[in-house]
Symmetry: C2
DNA sequence: TGTTGTCAAGAGCAGTGCTCTCTCAACCCC
DNA sequence: GGGGTTGAGAGAGCACTGCTCTTGACAACA
């Protein structure tokens, strides 16, 4: 039973799936992932709820499709920033990538929360999400790897690496396909999680009393963390 | 109509409230915040759902009470770590605090997600949560301030501070009541958001292919970020 | 001994995810 | 072109949710 994608039924089907995802995305932006309702999506399409189950077996499956789209969106943003600054120095490139990711997150906070906030309880990310999820961090690591290749990054080891950490970093290195030694890889990961930590802290309202100029504060912290990423921190 | 807290009715009431929160907490651990159901809580207490509404006006109000408890819990953990290491050097103290917070988060991931994950959509944190929410970060800043007072922290300015950032940092400084200059305050905030970023990234499953020894990896990254916090990064 | 205030129960409303059966039109193939 | 196949959608229904309102009972107080 090979599915011929040119048959009118199949075409109508992919069309319908797109419509459903579109409506679901609109709803997601308004009410967030918890509020995503299959019935509401069906209503918006002028269709009865059970009809949607022809296309998505469950609410979770629909949510998964949206999550993949969101991972791809932020992945494209990160890759775009990396590509647009190709050939420039690493500081400029990393800064551009970080700014791009944050701008994207600020513009669609619900999307950001969907992938980098708490996972929906009871929801186990299926395998299909793994590779889209890696796009953004891989773009970030790629920028760093380019910087290393250009000799712009300090690679002198600043801290001892325990054996299990070394092994895990090796796994990451080969999985990501980037040529970064333990020192720089750990630094890059710290820069990436630090970036997400900052964005989450800002977006989820934890800075709301104190900081007023979020952009300026982010720029300031980004400048520091970029310098640390490139030159390394103090020796431990 | 002053509420006399000694009258048997009032006592029974606070008792009941405690029972409800207890049952809700149990449920929270199992199913997470989205799955928290007033009816299920009522069932567990052998009571009809409407009875719960005598004590909490809405599901959100119950959730808020739980959130405050969780903030207080992590706040107590952080303060406890700070107190237990009082008088020691800042590196040891910061490390202990960070470890304590992460251990707590790993032990109760749902609690962590409740306060540091995506905010429940449509849920606006009421004022009552603000002060408990500040306990943990204030404990962290306190440790740094002690280190500065002991002359253990490098305070040399490493990066220029834009005017709006300076103003916001001043607000934070006076709001937090800690005597930290712009340089160290920004560094401490970066260390704090970086810590939460690492914990979130780990807890929400983004490290799951690659890292196997989460404890060792955390220790490694913590050692780096602690050194940066204390000695400062490169000059920007 | 009333009176008052509080509590719990129960019914009910509108919504949810999801399943099942049914109908009917569109498609595909001979 | 006609007839069998398939799949889309409708609709009813189940078990659940948050929340509201009314009603009856009991305990605390004057």
């Amino acid at each position: 039973m090979p599915i011929d994608p040119t048959t009118p039924r199949a075409l109508a089907r992919v069309e319908r799936i797109a419509e459903i995802k579109e409506a679901a995305r609109r709803q997601l932006v308004e009410v967030g992932s918890d509020g995503l309702s299959l019935r509401a999506v069906a209503r918006e399409l002028g269709v009865v709820s059970s009809a949607v189950y022809r296309y998505f077996a469950s609410r979770d499956e629909l949510l998964t499709a949206l999550i993949i789209d969101v991972y791809d969106a932020v992945g494209a943003v990160a890759e775009g920033a990396a590509a647009a600054t190709s050939g420039r120095r690493i500081g400029e490139r990393w800064t551009a990538l970080a700014r791009a990711v944050r701008s994207w997150a600020v513009a669609q906070p619900h999307d950001y929360a969907l992938i980098y906030g708490s996972p929906v309880p009871g929801y186990r990310a299926p395998e299909d999400t793994v590779s889209p999820a890696l796009r953004a961090p891989l773009a970030a690591l790629g920028v760093v790897a380019d910087g290393v290749a250009a000799g712009e990054v300090g690679t002198e080891r600043r801290s001892p690496v325990a054996r299990p950490v070394h092994a895990d970093l090796a796994t990451l290195r080969s999985g990501a396909g980037v040529d970064l030694d333990d020192e720089v890889l750990a630094r890059a990961l710290a820069a990436w999680t630090g970036l997400l930590g900052h964005i989450s802290y800002e977006l989820f309202g934890h800075l709301h009393n104190g900081i007023t100029d979020y952009d300026a504060f982010f720029e300031h912290q980004l400048a520091r963390s970029t310098a640390i990423l490139i030159e390394g921190g103090p020796t431990v």
